[in-house]
Symmetry: D3
Subunit: 319 residues, 6 copies
């Protein structure tokens, strides 16, 4: 991979880069000819570009998931950066061509995250919750450290799901320190499992789409069912207060029925989990958008925040 | 039980009746003295009344679930009928004192309903759905024929849940006859299970309240979990298309996220089930309200229908 | 008309077909040249396609309502099928060129529908409603059997209005069988007239648009006025309870003020009519969308159902 | 009628007054005894009061519509003035006992209003609209000058409907002077008829309630039907642009579907009529509420203005 | 400036006109080449057009704010008029090239408006309000007579802000004549200042955009702060009732919190100001849209009026 | 003050306590006699009770703000605890009668809070923000440490405003540690000032009501004005980016226009401040409600949390 990455180039600069094709849609232009709308990515970010007058051969070769060598120029199109594709070919075996190397990562390594998750589980002192959390997590452990937290918007990078989970627990610690009446075990247990259903709801870390289970059941209920299954394995009563509380933490974590929770939070810890989940997702969405904005300007509108755009101050680091 | 029933008396008439106490709340009047706010019922309906200046002994004796002998007068209080309690004592063992005899029933007997349900199951020709439906239903079969369909509002009588289920299936048949593209097995299977979770959500047919599972999980998810459990027993894959479709029928049957479904209907049969469920519940609520209204007047406002009141025409049967 | 119809061809197949031009908009491409955006139809359905670099002569010839002979290829454009127009000319007099032959029809013939409508009227036993219904229907009888039920969305085929009416009455029968307190005459009378105003609101069965009366008054009030007029003719008192009830059935049938009803349903039969109307329209919209979808995929989003898309199961007929 | 009127007395003052009973509801107190909740009025305003321990004879004598002689004291009850009834008897024939004398009136006499309405009609220069307006108005002319504009809230005094109409036309003149593109005839014609249906919707000027036509049809559609009827009489085409425009003015004047208009304003004049109607009603509601408030305090909450209360400044006239 | 103006030409007519470039966005076409999307204007209105295949030199020359000589043809593109640019060059010094001459103006000259504003201030008889209004107005007096009332939509012409202010005061006079309880000084004072913050919120009369203060603070609070500042200068107590009332007039004038007022109107005069503000803005938006519509057709949809389109009657002046 | 406090007694226990009268409303009972509705408080909480048949002398003596000696019994009235007043007299000078001793306090002492606030200010490294924060805070410093954070609901104890502020800053630290792109100085500065306007909006710590400035301007704008005033004093440009950012933090902190912010958050730090403000207020409201609830039951409904009630688990400390 080149040292200078995709997002480092300025508008009008020309580059030669190995990039991952994250998407490749065949379309027909208004003049009747076909072109491929491509999404190029490396770990610095992603940009779109079109391959005009695409041949059948192009269409078969340039599909999502392939690594390609691109000569291109960064351009502005209706206010957004895109790539003008000047030359394009598939990477060969002697060149960088492992898709995993071109995917964006979060600020922590997998092993750092594993260590912190392990410590959090240790702090769940209630033995039933501790065992259920470990059993449910174990069923999806590999995907938990690989998946993004969402198809787009927030924590949309590999490992984003685990990092989002850790961020919520760190905030939860401060909240529990301020409010000793909060049940720390319950809050941590809920935080660890709350979004785990996304490993079933989403197809995978690279060409992320919704599965049929995701569309017809949804990640919230999918985790709840896992808890019920694990209860059967561990011979815990799923109707005990402890298990009802834990399931409620998951079921209620979207906060409002309109957002897909079948019940609203009815215990303190469930409301706190919901609030911290929203807080962390919002910050991540705003940070991504503002980072890509010139100081003194407003960012693009963020769909997940009611279409608001956010201002990047000029004073910057000076404060 | 007297031949003339509670709802047959007119305002200002005096009666002596054996009645069930459905509710008994101890309150303090503005003059500082205690009274008991009582809800009296027989199979014709229910009315409230107060026992003024209640002694400790009264408070201990007159509790919900007891059958009492009442001498009372029907009165109007702010537009509603209520009972002015003139004398009150508990029924003794030689008198009618079985609460079950004082509860309202629907238009079909239990055995008629059992027969029709059995026939419906027979028409679910898909063998997996057929087995799942029978297994889930079997787990709650007794309560299915005893429970009301709701705490109040619609089908709030013993057996209301089963009768509501049957009504939906009858409508579903007409719909499926009109639209041959509808999957009849799926629609019937969803209809049979859709509200079964109410047997877990509600405490019972007489002093109906919400259980903790009802409050924290809700009847929709409770049935979904039962299906997942039954799949494990029967060694069916819960992630097969067939099982996802059936679970979706249940999860989506409230139609809107705001009404507690974690997903909106995404298959034709799920939307139809939702629409028929609403239709049948609305008709039941309106019919109850209009029945208690004098021709030429508007009924009381119905909470479950946006607070609307409904007019009972004078022309009556003549049409 | 060719035996293989427009919707039978697969993507990339080439065909020669006589087709009706349902729409023809002249537009300017981004390169400054004119093209015509055409909508082609036969009784199997409709597809769009562009005639590029259109001459003045083309623009004058290819207008909505004409039958043309097309050589074309079915293509995918942004997920939707469209026609790549390879050759195009008007049909001549010795060829199929009657627009009426290229319009989609519902599942019943006009004479079957007439017979069923006639039977329904017979079952309106109240003599005043019976006479009013017949008189109002008579004023628009021809259009009633020709018009679609809506400009697009549901029952958007010739005869759709009458077929939608019949479907509602069939459902109404099942409802009335279940609930003997429903006034069957009133429900049928309301069902027969409820959408008749669409024959005034819409311009016609082929190039359907809204009339000025449709835009400024709306089909709901237009029928109500017809009833008032007919009352004058028949010397019925429009303020009698019977006529108020019938008018209310029409005025309230959209259910909510937001949907254009000036009053919400205040009688049982009006609420039922509204619910059945919505049910039948929804099923029709979903059925159309799902029919055009490959098994295992989600349909296009349906505007009239909150933009939801619907899944077409793979298990198909097997159930 | 006494010179000092009901609203002139201060809290704790005792008075002897002839007053109209606007309402008389028999209720049962918490101690089981009956009382009558009375609404007393003269032309200065109205106040409530209770007659405790009411006998059968009292209940038969003191009914709505009667004039009574009251000895009472003004009291505060939960922040509102009310009357403590010390003595009560019916007025006899030699005393003031004409209910019409005890009803509040607006700032103009009937003959002043007749003159102004007559002048407005004169300014409707379009002959068709002029004739229709006169014909429709003539059908309800007596009630037009007697009725309130609403059951409660705004212009709830005798003659309020005509005065509200005149106020709107005066505002309309200023608007039309500012905007010469407005069709003055159409705006005046719409203003004159817009609320006339209230003479059918409401039972009368004294014990105002909704009629069945009011509940099932609503005053908006009731006027539209009158226009259609008058068109038939005058042999005007109800589907001509002129008549569609006039009917649209009426149908759209509530502005939003949610407020009962079956169509939203689609012509400039209809939007203006709606805005002026709301403006005048709001001012009237606020003025009434503020008038009854002590300077330096907030008024009661006004239901028709989203429950807001309004501040009465201390600086008062000084400005 | 040519005698025949931009908006006078018909579709397909060719013209040579000096026009102001109100906007100039560089974009890339689907064929990969750059073009400039231009907005041309003179005092009769504005139209868009594209300069295809734009060179670097074109991009540098044709920027917003320049006057150009255009040879063009009026065309229809998707129902809207636009300009097909046939030739384009900058105006030279001997030709009309003052941007101010190409801007639309309202119906009053600046000096007429100054005179009327001066008279209105004279009628604010409360001396404190009179002085505050004059002081605040003086700070922005030049911009007050130059600015539009909004970026687009209503009164979007030079001087629109002052004309909108005057229109509101004229309506306010009629209202105050009808309702003598209204504090005329307060209503006029609020009307004069209500939108003055737009001179800070918007960048200027020609290439109008939002300033940072506009985005982060908003014009409502910006005026309130000016009043507080002026109070300090004049040694008035900002917490006196008089100053609180005046500030409340400004803060509440958007009527609803959703529309950006931090408080809802809590005094009569504030509600009236809000209503008149909305009324005047609506009429202006509708008038502009209808003026550009052919009689017998509906206008474009107006964003600020919920996307409604408005009908322009054919009967026109005849009424 | 007695060692056992008001909230320590159980239902039916009789006590003799010195208590503060937080409220005293004179009302008339349904039997026509006056009573005083009293709110009694000590630092453990507050309860209501009625003094029946109150004399003029009682009404004059027992007013809000007085300390009284009460003999009373704790009772249940419609599910809530209240006091049955058995005897009541004013405390004399030799008895505890300082109202300040009977007010509830938060978990930190004033001096602990002062120290922490001082440290936070020290961490605002931007010198302009640092000076503005100190100057604005200084103007209201005494009230800042005495006031509750709200009239009721959250942090409704003396010192609640300062404690709420500190809680937010502690959460802000964790957030800023997780997200290094956040401007810590700006977030702390905004947090310190965000609710300071409540010292102007509310009348005081004991008989808390809204001031006229509170009602007509609101606490959000009141702080913004203070910043503008302080800028003038310190000769800072209020339109500099730094000051616009700080003012925006305050103006936007309610998050939504519907909640009274005149602008929505448009910078990252403003959104975070809003989210933390809501989070802390919610937790405080839930904690108060749950604390007063028996384990295994649901709390009272919390108005500020959409009327939800919260469950207090039985498992309690064991976790």
């Amino acid at each position: 991979m080149a040292e200078t990455q995709l997002m480092d180039f300025k508008v009008d600069e020309i580059f030669d880069l190995f990039l991952l094709l994250k998407g490749a849609d065949v379309r027909t232009a208004k003049n009747g000819k076909r072109f491929i709308h491509l999404t190029f990515a490396d770990s610095s970010g992603e940009l779109a570009g079109n391959l005009w007058d695409a041949s059948e051969q192009d269409i078969n070769a340039f599909v999502a998931g392939k690594v390609v060598l691109v000569r291109g120029k960064k351009e502005l199109y209706q206010g957004n950066s895109q790539i003008k594709v000047m030359h394009l070919r598939l990477a060969n075996d002697s060149e960088p061509n492992d898709p995993a190397q071109f995917v964006a990562h979060g600020p922590m390594t997998t092993s750092e995250m594993e260590e912190e998750i392990s410590q959090i589980i240790f702090e769940i002192t209630n033995p039933e919750w501790n065992r259920v959390v470990r059993a449910v997590l174990q069923r999806h452990i590999e995907r938990f450290y690989q998946f993004p937290a969402a198809k787009k918007n927030h924590h949309a990078f590999a490992g984003g799901l685990a990092f989002h989970t850790i961020s919520i627990v760190r905030l939860a610690k401060t909240v529990a320190d301020l409010h000793p009446n909060i049940n720390r075990s319950l809050l941590y247990a809920g935080a660890l499992l709350h979004d785990l259903g996304k490993t079933i709801e989403l197809s995978g870390p690279i060409a992320t789409s919704y599965t049929l289970a995701g569309n017809l059941i949804g990640h919230i209920v999918l985790v709840d069912e896992e808890i019920v299954n694990v209860c059967a394995e561990l011979h815990f009563d799923p109707e005990s207060e402890e298990m009802l509380l834990l399931r409620h933490m998951i079921l209620a974590h979207h906060g409002l029925l309109e957002y897909g929770s079948p019940v609203r939070p009815r215990i303190l810890e469930a409301e706190v989990l919901h609030d911290l989940d929203e807080l962390d997702a919002s910050i991540q969405m705003m940070s991504s958008a503002v980072e890509q904005t010139v100081p003194g300007e407003f960012s693009e509108r963020i769909f997940g925040l009611d279409g608001r755009s956010f201002y990047r101050p000029e004073l910057g680091e000076r404060n």
